[in-house]
Symmetry: C2
Subunit: 318 residues, 2 copies
């Protein structure tokens, strides 16, 4: 990608206005863990079942009329796909989304149902999704809407932080956020300058944590471990995310598949919310005692798009 | 029961104030059915996972200090049980709840976890729960908190209607409500005098609909059909509910188990909410085309307490 502007707090505030104009705030639900009363931000209640609608809406809203006629291309395991497709349909923009062949069926179906063209790539086989997207962009002149390394997308995700502050009446002490490439974490860091931001990544896929430790972008190795968090498997974070998060976020929190499943069961039983594996990573870290909790801590429940069979197996195993 | 006062709209407004003082409004979520954009009131997001917390809180808050020392007795298949137990714990009142032996495990566990004493009765065997409760009340001098035939309970449930009007900015055209004994439906009818109220009952358990048609309380027959809606199996409605609902509610809507399961799957996939069978009855009627829908229609999602195995089977069958 060419040089790009940096996301700003002013951009987050503008995004929060744009988002508030079309989407009601998602509820901040009370939650008790180990005797501590804290909060869960229920992004699974967004129309597409995930926070990704925020960044996609802010990005597509900012396109010029001329850019809109050329369409957009997104790259996504499924939730950003739905966000871009949703925003594109609403704005009358053609959307093409590059998705992995092993994306959950429910995410593929929902993206197509929103009217987007889906182009599949072979993630398990190591095909580079960014190359596929770059080819599509070169052919069509469409605007690439990256899932996390885009200043508008980062600012849009940050709108969740502005909502949280309005709902709490003050800044949270700490926001625990499921983390893939670092778009949400970066947006929250900009939105809530006085709050700790704790990205939570799947074991073996902690590309943001490793980048923060190394001071540079780190790519996942050739044989990364399996994870049930299909939404949190970016091959690497990007410089724009790292630049925002360095010195701002608390690195190093990872969760196992079993911790994630336990969090999904907790959300089923106590919150009556359907949460997908990647959307439960932050809650998993909180339940596993991996982050400090207090009455002003907010745990992000970032997505709820999960295939029924996988979800049935998870809740039945409890 | 002895003569009791009638519930009033003023009582509903007081209940709405009392509820708002301790519980945030549950969200009114956008919902699309057959191209119509309408609303779902997500009562599954209450701390106990059901609207019953409203009536229980209003009833117990109204007890005198002397009444509080003698405790309360509730009769419930599980959600009213949790509502009474939650309110009692918060107010420091001893609670005993009469529950059926075949109540869902998750409801029995949750009621006990809230500190209530649970006394079981043999519902499948035809034991009369009201007799069990009357004996407990005679022994202890406790106050009986009926699940639906109590003016405070009815007023408390009606607080949901006051919230809906504030959230919509006007009265809904129609509120579609899951219906057991008619406590919620009666409360909503009082809360929203300009709105149609449509109680939805399980096939074979339409004791409110039959009472409205007959003009008097009707008891379910000796061999009622099975229903998966464990929360919607009262043996009969009561005069206080019938008095409020006659001429106010639209009777006659019933749903099958299969329609209820389809609604649970819809809520899983599109709303990311866990809804129990009885809590999905209103949505089932809407999805089955059994009630007219428009942009000001509200469908109540009344409860989300369901055993994991039963829920897993339902979503897997879709």
């Amino acid at each position: 990608m060419s040089a790009q502007r940096m996301p700003t707090r002013e951009g987050v505030l503008l995004a929060a206005e744009r988002v508030a104009a079309i989407l009601p705030p998602t509820p901040l639900l009370p939650l008790e863990i180990g005797g501590v009363q804290l909060w869960a931000k229920a992004e699974v209640l967004q129309p597409i079942g995930a926070f990704k609608i925020r960044g996609a809406w802010h990005r597509l809203s900012a396109l010029s009329d001329e850019e809109r006629t050329r369409g957009v291309v997104g790259v996504s395991s499924g939730n950003h796909a739905q966000g871009v497709a949703w925003a594109a349909r609403r704005l009358g923009i053609a959307a093409t989304i590059v998705m992995p062949t092993d994306a959950p069926r429910t995410k593929l179906d929902a993206t197509r149902a929103l009217g987007a063209d889906v182009v599949l790539y072979d993630r398990p086989g190591g095909e580079d999704r960014d190359e596929v997207a770059a080819r599509l962009v070169a052919e069509s002149g469409a605007t690439l809407v990256h899932a996390f390394a885009d200043p508008w997308v980062i600012e849009g995700q940050g709108s969740a932080g502005i909502e949280i502050m309005a709902q709490l009446g003050h800044a949270p002490s700490r926001i625990v956020a499921c983390c893939g490439g670092g778009g949400l974490a970066a947006g929250l860091a900009l939105a809530c300058p006085d709050s700790a931001v704790v990205p939570v990544e799947p074991e073996g896929w902690d590309m943001v944590g490793r980048a923060m430790a190394a001071g540079e972008v780190v790519h996942v190795g050739p044989n990364p471990p399996a994870t049930i968090c299909d939404a949190l498997q970016p091959p690497a974070t990007r410089p724009v995310n790292l630049a925002v998060l360095r010195g701002r976020a608390e690195p190093g929190v990872t969760v196992t598949d079993e911790e994630v499943r336990a969090a999904q069961r907790f959300a089923f039983r106590h919150l009556h919310l359907v949460v997908e594996p990647g959307g439960a990573a932050a809650l998993a870290a909180a339940l596993a005692g991996k982050v400090p909790l207090d009455g002003d801590t907010v745990v992000m429940l970032t997505g709820g798009n999960v295939d029924p069979a996988a979800y049935a197996a998870t809740i039945s195993a409890g």
